[in-house]
Symmetry: none
Subunit: 537 residues, 2 copies
């Protein structure tokens, strides 16, 4: 028997059909269904009413219901079951499709995905990408496996155009005039809502400043700190070389603090004599660690005694193993500046990001944004707001994550075939992996990267992101290229190393072979982080 | 008889009711009506069908039609007439495009118009516009006559979308990745070609840096000069208050140099002890003078001896009387930084502009742009490049200039009616006029502007843009509002002054009256610039 009837038709939706808006009925219905699931009015396993039934009871066209179901299915919230009809498979943390326990602190519904850029993404990655855009430069490179780029071929071109048409049709003349330096209200509302719900960030629209990507966020923060004479900022070592260069450009001295299997050694913050710290707590770049609970406490204790935390939340939700941990900002919103962008979820070319600012700094951050460029371009802000409100953004992220996951699996198999003696780090999340070569001298990776480039493949030597020497390794992006190019690229890396006399000895018998596609279990099993050999990376 | 029936009901809309989208019917209908007007299927004076009739013929709800009419009325495209019903009042420029002879020196075809933003445009104007975007602020203001905004209702929405679709269809994944800090090559090529041809600028694509509007151009230039310790910059007095504030924000001290009927008193540059000068040679803001030939020579002589000229070419081609003079940069490309944007030709919300940089400074300017935000968003750059290459940009500028000219004429007539004793300056070009009140005390204009704001009309007091006291006056923008609002706004200004005991005495008999639409001849005749009473403004 249909569970819905026991719930009294569609009462669970708490919808008044007479309250249906004139426009965007589909968005209205999709949101109502999503809310009912997040609120628990619809539990995992519950069946949704047949589209015809729901349409009839709400007095709307069936096409609207079908489209709403399609979007929620794309988000992984519901699924069509041959016999059972349409069933809820997602829901709040603890009952989500990913199958991970939720974060008790934030109660993040794992059904959602949010976009995040990261310092390395825009500079460590960009410095190279920038060169590749200049004529004749890097002409030899055929396969770019540098980290930081998502699968750009899946950029939602049709959806972007559809929402831009809507924006241009509805926008009044004032919308085309000078902009609000803090960002367009419609986008700040959507971001505040989403970051609160998905990342446990504590933010109202008034706390958000829209910027041109995380790059500009760091520039503005660095300029502000510099004017206050707070010029020493702790950074992760290993950490983004791009972020360090960017901070230096604005007079901030990056102070390296070691990273281990649990993230930054936050116990060393006090001794580092710094005014602020730049962290990637949800997914440490480049190694992939999640900042351990006791370290989070360290940081927040340090912050409450006057330190400022800049939280680069970059790809917190581009995880393949479980729900992401909540943002640090949610636990100390007056001591943490939370930054993010759509560079990884949509495209770096959009140059669109945000700062969630502590109240004490907000006005000065907005004034700086105004002094730099008046404000960010408004059309793209309105388009993004429209995509967020419609659910199209969630659908895109869901598709993007599954594409990235498949490419991750191809990369891991290829690495095991080509570099059996390499240790592989950080495969549970993000857009890249790190391989280290315990049998090579520290610093040998520069030579390897040069040989790879000569062979037509660009990768980052791990030493590029180190402040202090350590094991040789490579940072290899897998999200931006298809399976064939990934396999060809990794094979070329293996050949380049072999040709350079950097032999790849056969892997131990107990190590899974190339044919062995990793399942959820041996994904964790294949993860050296936490294993003895990875200590003191 | 209803004109519509002669057009065969609603056939002029070329709408297939069956093609009506499921969502946003209102946007669909508004767009169709706008297109019909732009295409000329609906001409000025044509009557629109009654809402009930149109709703019936399209088989949609009447509310949708009412809302669509309301939006177009807001845009100033249609208006409700008591007896005539709803009538088309806007639309594309007809035969009244200006055919001024080309400039023999620069070979500028007068039909060409290039976009130019200006310092005042983005801050003097924006500071107010910005506030008006914040909740509850400026709630009383109904008609915004502050300068710097073009006719935003004529933004080429359809063309922009058409070119964006083309860009998104043709762009490879790399185009969506990280950007070239200097700007997308396709746009730099188009800009170099256009600025050379239309403005006599000496530029190759390699000389151009794409930035987020003139605001960011000035920020980058100011930061660069500040790092060199070149912190004293001459500015025009009268001149843009926004530019002065912007420069101060980055540590540059604006040094006022007087402006007269021939532009800046460049003979005083040497004594001013400055490292650089910010000029608006083609159309001095706010008074509208063209920098005289001997003064251009002064400036270039001064520049060749080590001074740096920043040329804000803002609305050089938004002229109504003749072809604009060529850019200073063309005569000394190593001593002049030429800046501009599309804020005035398309929309400030696009935040898209350029720097034409001397070779000696180019690399440092690009590095600063990279350090600030990596680079400007690429999609809008590609769309603009496509519009420039297709000629759609030129077509839009021609239509825009004709619309601005008509509004200028309405403004001049209204001013003569409401403020017969005011002197009117700067009507031959740009988006605003300046009125001065010789019979009032200097500084009285602050009070006048306050009274106008209280009456619901925003204007700039002339003293806002002065560094040293002088005749009271107002800066009044006419481009952004339709005739009805312009007339209402100016009438309100007259009333506000009269109510404030600032009486408007009847003008001299020889002064043309309100009914007298100025022709080319008495446009010049009515122009006090150069007349004795305007000396030492």
């Amino acid at each position: 028997m249909d569970q819905m009837t026991t719930r009294g038709g569609v009462d669970f939706l708490q919808l008044d059909a007479r309250a249906a808006p004139q426009r965007d009925l589909t968005g209205w219905l999709t949101g109502a269904l999503r809310t009912a699931i997040v609120d628990g009015r619809l539990g995992r396993g519950d069946r949704l009413p047949p589209t015809r039934t729901l349409a009839g009871e709400l007095g709307i066209s069936r096409g609207v219901v079908v489209e709403a179901y399609r979007r929620l299915a794309e988000e992984g919230v519901i699924a069509a079951r041959t016999r059972a009809g349409t069933v809820v498979i997602g829901g709040p943390a603890g009952s989500d499709a990913i199958g991970a326990p939720g974060d008790a602190d934030t109660g993040i519904p794992a059904i959602d995905n949010a976009p995040h850029d990261r310092a390395r993404g825009f500079t460590g990655g960009t410095t190279a990408v920038h060169r590749s855009l200049l004529p004749h430069a890097e002409a030899g490179v055929e396969i770019d496996l540098s980290p930081g780029l998502p699968d750009l071929s899946s950029f939602p071109r049709a959806a972007w155009l559809r929402h831009e048409r809507r924006v241009l049709t509805e926008a009044g003349a004032r919308e085309l005039g000078y902009v609000d330096p803090q960002g367009t209200a419609a986008l700040r509302e959507q971001l505040a809502h989403r970051l609160t719900r998905v990342r446990g960030v504590r933010a109202s629209p008034a706390d958000i400043v829209v910027v041109n990507g995380v790059a500009q966020a760091l520039s503005i923060i660095a300029i502000l700190l510099g004017r206050d004479g707070r010029t020493r900022m702790a950074v992760e070592d290993l950490g983004s070389v791009g972020a360090r260069e960017h901070l230096r450009a604005w007079g901030i001295a990056p102070v390296p603090v070691a990273v281990d299997r649990s993230g930054m050694r936050t116990d060393r913050l006090g001794a580092a004599d710094v005014d602020s710290v730049l962290l990637t707590p949800a997914h440490q770049f480049p190694m992939g660690a999640v900042l351990a609970a006791d370290r989070r406490e360290d940081v927040l204790r340090w912050a409450r005694s006057g330190g400022l935390v800049i939280e680069d939340d970059y790809d917190a939700e581009m995880r393949y193993d479980r729900a992401p941990v909540g943002a640090l900002q949610g636990l100390a919103h007056e001591a943490v500046i939370h930054v993010g962008s759509v560079s990884k979820a949509l495209a770096p070319a959009l140059r669109l990001g945000w700062i969630v600012a502590p109240k004490a700094l907000r006005d000065r951050l907005v004034d700086l944004k105004f002094s730099l460029d008046i404000g960010s371009p408004r059309l793209a802000q309105l388009v993004l707001a429209s995509m967020l409100a419609s659910g199209d953004y969630d659908g895109h992220l869901r598709r993007l994550r599954s594409r990235h996951l498949r490419r991750r699996d191809v990369m891991v198999r290829a690495l095991r075939a080509a570099l059996p003696d390499a240790d592989v780090f950080g495969i549970q999340a993000g857009l890249h992996v790190v391989v280290t070569f315990p049998n090579l001298d520290p610093g040998a990776d520069d030579e390897i990267a040069r040989r790879c480039a000569a062979a037509g493949v660009r990768v980052h030597p791990l030493s590029m992101h180190r402040c202090t020497p350590g094991a040789a390794g490579l940072v290899i992006g897998y999200a931006a290229n298809g399976p064939t190019r990934l396999e060809a690229g990794v094979a070329a890396i293996g050949c380049a190393m072999a040709a350079g006399g950097i032999a790849s000895r056969p892997g131990p018998a107990d190590r899974p072979g190339p044919a062995d596609r990793p399942g959820p279990a041996d994904r964790r099993g294949a993860e050296p982080i936490g294993a003895p050999e990875s200590a003191g990376l």
